[in-house]
């Protein structure tokens, strides 16, 4: 039976009614209209649906709602907007880091978690943080560069 879950999404307290087994992705997309969290495989293999749950990158495609009460969820919509992008989003634009773009919001989420943990990551740190993500167009090199650039901007070493 559906139950009511209280959780915080992008800093806003929300109440959602959902079945206990319903994966979080359907709540985010179909109930709350947060379409940046994308369905890729439903198998925790591609990373398109990555969100932060209590600061940890987590697959929204399999995360059941009955484990979500009281959690803090952040999605790509919570990072920034076209008019006011997060430094990571801006760095992806500056590096033109993407082709089709389907994988990008999940990658941005993992990158944000990385930079919150490690403000000065090496290339190896970046690729390790992104190894749960797939990109089929081959924009990897640019994505790695963009995350390095965003890190430098966020450390105040490079101008945005």
């Amino acid at each position: 039976m559906p139950e009511t879950y209280k959780l915080t999404i992008n800093g806003v307290a929300r109440e959602v009614v959902a079945g206990a087994a319903l994966p979080l992705i359907y709540v985010l997309r179909n109930e709350l209209g947060l379409m940046g969290t994308r369905y890729g495989c439903g198998l925790e293999q591609c990373g398109s649906c990555m969100v932060l749950i209590d600061g940890e990158p987590s697959y929204a495609c399999t995360r059941a709602m009955d484990s979500m009460a009281g959690r803090d969820v952040r999605t790509v919509e919570g990072m920034g907007t076209v008019a006011a992008p997060h430094p990571l989003q801006q760095a992806f634009i500056d590096e033109q880091a993407g082709q089709c773009g389907y994988c990008l919001s999940g990658i941005l989420i993992s990158a944000m978690a990385l930079l919150e943990r490690n403000p000065d990551p090496s290339r190896a740190h970046i690729t390790a943080a992104l190894d749960g993500h797939l990109c089929r167009c081959g924009a990897h090199e640019r994505i790695i560069r963009a995350i390095g650039r965003a890190a430098a901007v966020m450390r105040g070493e490079e101008r945005p």
Partner: protein
């Protein structure tokens, strides 16, 4: 010469619309599939019309309002649509300029245009395109004869303009998958295991119980769909459905059939191109015979997103939203299956995940259309499951390539034969025959397509790039177009070029080695085309080719060259890697000549992507199949190159503003595959002839 697509779409107003908000809407039949083409086409239009980029609005892929430019394929968008848009914009500007001269009572040579406003002798006049646009009859046909701007006057073409689509894709809603119109219902399908399979029974009650919420089950012959307001319920229903469905006549695939070697003894259409057969008497074919066999297995598009489509049937009109490569062909194909005239169907493109050829998009569109026709007035949002995507996309065909070369006394090839076994590389749906999946599941399935391949003048399919671009007196291709592959095959980035270039460039290294020459020098000795030489020499210089040692100790440096379709973009690739139990890419350098470059960063992005995808196919990928179908249904069983495996990539484009633009989407892929093959051979001192160059193949090679 008048661009062909202007002849097919002979009205200005199909291409251009001067809009009240002082913008110009430029329509194209080519669509954004991740390659950035919409941005590049807007640059061409803004350039010719002397507009700013913000004054150009692109409408891409719309059967009601835009031109029919067939499919977004074969690296032709800039060459075809770009040429048409350049011509139509140059001519529209000239027509408006003539009107302005009359209105301002001045000579045409005094006039110039800035952001759509007319200047006389450099002074503003207050008159704009939009003031005059209604004075021109835009229903007339462009002559295609206006003289476009000289390349030295370009200010927007040739600039690395940021892509228009990226900001939205980085912040939220951006794809067809993300659109939920009011009242939308979600749908999934149960796929027929293969053509001819008959659904004997379907336990609808069990499926509805599994769904856990109210869903409808639509069934017509062997086509089954699950529809409901709750997406997760229809997904659950579709996931449960296979175990509640009994099929007869499903295909049975023997695992041998997934290997390229299986193709050799299969029924085929025999096709021959080039010089007379070497066996026929035609002078002296003396010299040593060098032979080798190469192969590539079936590979997948493996798009990041499952295919999706939306459809609405209302007031006897069907509207389809699709991420397919061609909206006009899609409309024609749908019309035939759903029994509506084309005029009663609108097909509109929306962004999907990366598309690398004929994938599941068209099939998903028909799925959605069939459901919509049975549920009038409702928006249907149909999405495939990941398992559908891996199981039912049209695959890139396996290929087996035998190369036989006669070598003259100077160690140069005098006679070259490529014998190729391959299923078809293009099996796009046709209005009067099969290949749309759902059509094959209906009561009266359309006849099976007779396999064919693109003609040689369009670059061929299985034969693509099989003819060496090198200076070789005689060469021929014997193409066995295999007619009975175990899975549906169709267009995947480069078609047959990747396996053919892998084989050809491996053989070039082999011949160089036999002649005791450096692979670069050997190739240059057979390459009169200066542009081909330039990309090779530049790539070699950037990758420090001359430092290459004897090899055989685990580190390898390999190079390869190809001119895509032997008529389009040039690319040379140098790969540095090392091999232990598997291949570790270190650095890949690609240098391309694509003629006039519209957007240099866009070209580099395509080159980089081509390198990564080519490397992934070469090192890791093989579609697995057994029993009723494909068994590699997820990313664990179909691995692709990961972030931790990505080499440093250096992509450069030689600037050739005086040469026509050459499509860039595919040119880097095949030489990357070949350069990896050559670098692995250099590292190991022994060549691996069969892709993927996986851990298992490396181990097999090292142990024999």
């Amino acid at each position: 010469m008048k661009p062909a697509n202007l002849t097919i779409n002979p009205r200005f107003d199909t291409w251009l619309k001067f809009q009240a908000d002082e913008t110009v809407r430029v329509a194209t039949g080519k669509v954004e599939i991740g390659q950035g083409v919409v941005t590049a086409l807007s640059q061409i239009a803004a350039e010719e019309l002397d507009l700013s980029l913000s004054q150009v609005v692109i409408l891409a892929g719309d059967t009601d309002q835009g031109p029919n430019e067939r499919y977004t394929s074969s690296s032709l968008s800039i060459m075809d649509s770009g040429a048409a848009i350049r011509a139509v914009c140059a001519e529209a500007r000239a027509l408006l300029l003539r009107r302005a001269a009359l209105r301002l009572n001045c000579g045409g040579e005094q006039l110039s245009v800035e952001e759509g406003a007319f200047l006389v002798d450099g002074a503003s006049t207050g008159l704009t395109y939009w003031d005059l646009a209604n004075d021109v009859d835009w229903s007339q046909a462009p002559t295609g004869e206006a003289i476009p701007k000289a390349t030295q006057d370009y200010r927007i073409v040739g600039q690395s303009i940021p892509r228009h689509d990226l900001p939205e894709k980085l912040t939220g809603r951006a794809f067809i998958h993300d659109w939920l119109p009011d009242g939308v219902v979600h749908a999934r399908v149960l796929r027929q295991p293969g053509r001819g399979a008959v659904l004997q029974s379907l336990d609808e009650a069990a499926i509805k119980r599994a769904a856990g919420a109210d869903i409808e089950v639509l069934r017509e012959a062997n086509f089954v769909a699950f529809v409901g307001a709750d997406e997760s319920a229809v997904e659950t229903a579709a996931a449960a459905a296979p175990e509640h469905a009994q099929w007869s006549g499903a295909p049975q695939i023997n695992p041998d059939q997934q290997e390229a070697a299986w193709l050799r003894d299969q029924p085929a259409i025999e096709r021959k191109f080039g010089a007379e057969d070497a066996a026929a008497p035609q002078g002296d074919l003396v010299g040593e015979l060098v032979q080798a066999t190469f192969s590539r297995p079936y590979v997948a598009h493996a798009s990041m997103a499952p295919s999706c489509a939306l459809a609405l049937f209302e007031d006897a009109h069907l509207t389809i939203w699709s991420h397919g490569q061609g909206m006009h062909p899609l409309r024609a194909n749908l019309a035939n299956v759903v029994g509506l005239p084309e005029a009663a169907i609108t097909a509109r493109h929306m962004n999907g995940a990366g598309c690398y050829g004929h994938n599941g998009a068209d099939d998903a569109a028909l799925d959605a259309a069939l459901i919509a026709m049975r549920m009038p007035g409702r928006h249907i949002r149909l999405q495939w499951r990941r398992e559908d995507e891996f199981g039912f996309e049209p695959f890139g065909p396996a290929m087996l390539v035998d190369i036989s070369v006669r070598v003259d006394d100077a160690g140069r090839p005098s006679d070259w034969t490529a014998e190729i076994w391959s299923p078809t590389h293009v099996q796009r749906p046709l209005p009067d025959s099969g290949s749309l999946l759902a059509a094959e599941a209906l009561e009266n399935p359309p006849p099976v397509q007779i396999p064919d391949d693109p003609p040689e003048e369009r670059g061929g399919g299985g034969t693509r790039n099989a003819k060496p671009y090198y200076d070789i007196p005689n060469s021929r291709i014997h193409h066995h177009l295999v007619t009975t592959p175990p899975v549906r095959t169709s267009a995947l980035r480069t078609l047959g070029a990747l396996p053919n270039v892998f084989a050809l460039e491996a053989m070039m290294d082999e011949l160089a080695s036999r002649a005791g020459e450096d692979p670069l020098d050997y190739r240059l000795s057979l390459l009169p085309d200066q542009r081909a030489r330039a990309v090779l020499e530049e790539a070699a210089a950037r990758a420090d080719w001359r430092s290459r040692g004897a090899g055989g100790e685990g580190r390898g440096l390999g190079l390869a060259f190809s001119r895509y379709k032997n008529t389009a973009a040039y690319a040379a690739v140098v790969v540095a890697l090392h091999v232990d139990e598997e291949v570790h890419l270190e650095k890949i350098c690609v240098v391309a000549d694509t003629g006039l470059v519209i957007n240099p960063d866009g070209v580099r992005n395509q080159l980089e992507g081509g390198v990564v995808q080519g490397a992934s196919w070469t090192l890791k990928e093989q579609v697995q199949m057994q029993g009723p179908g494909v068994t590699s249904l997820d990313w664990d069983s179909y691995p692709i190159l990961r972030f931790s495996e990505i080499p440093e990539i250096e992509a450069e484009v030689l600037d050739r503003p005086e040469e026509p633009s050459l499509g860039v989407g595919e040119c880097a892929v095949s030489p990357t595959a070949a350069a990896i093959g050559n670098a692995v051979a250099h590292a190991l001192g022994v060549r691996i002839h069969h892709m993927p160059l996986s851990r298992q193949r490396i181990m097999e090679t090292l142990l024999t």
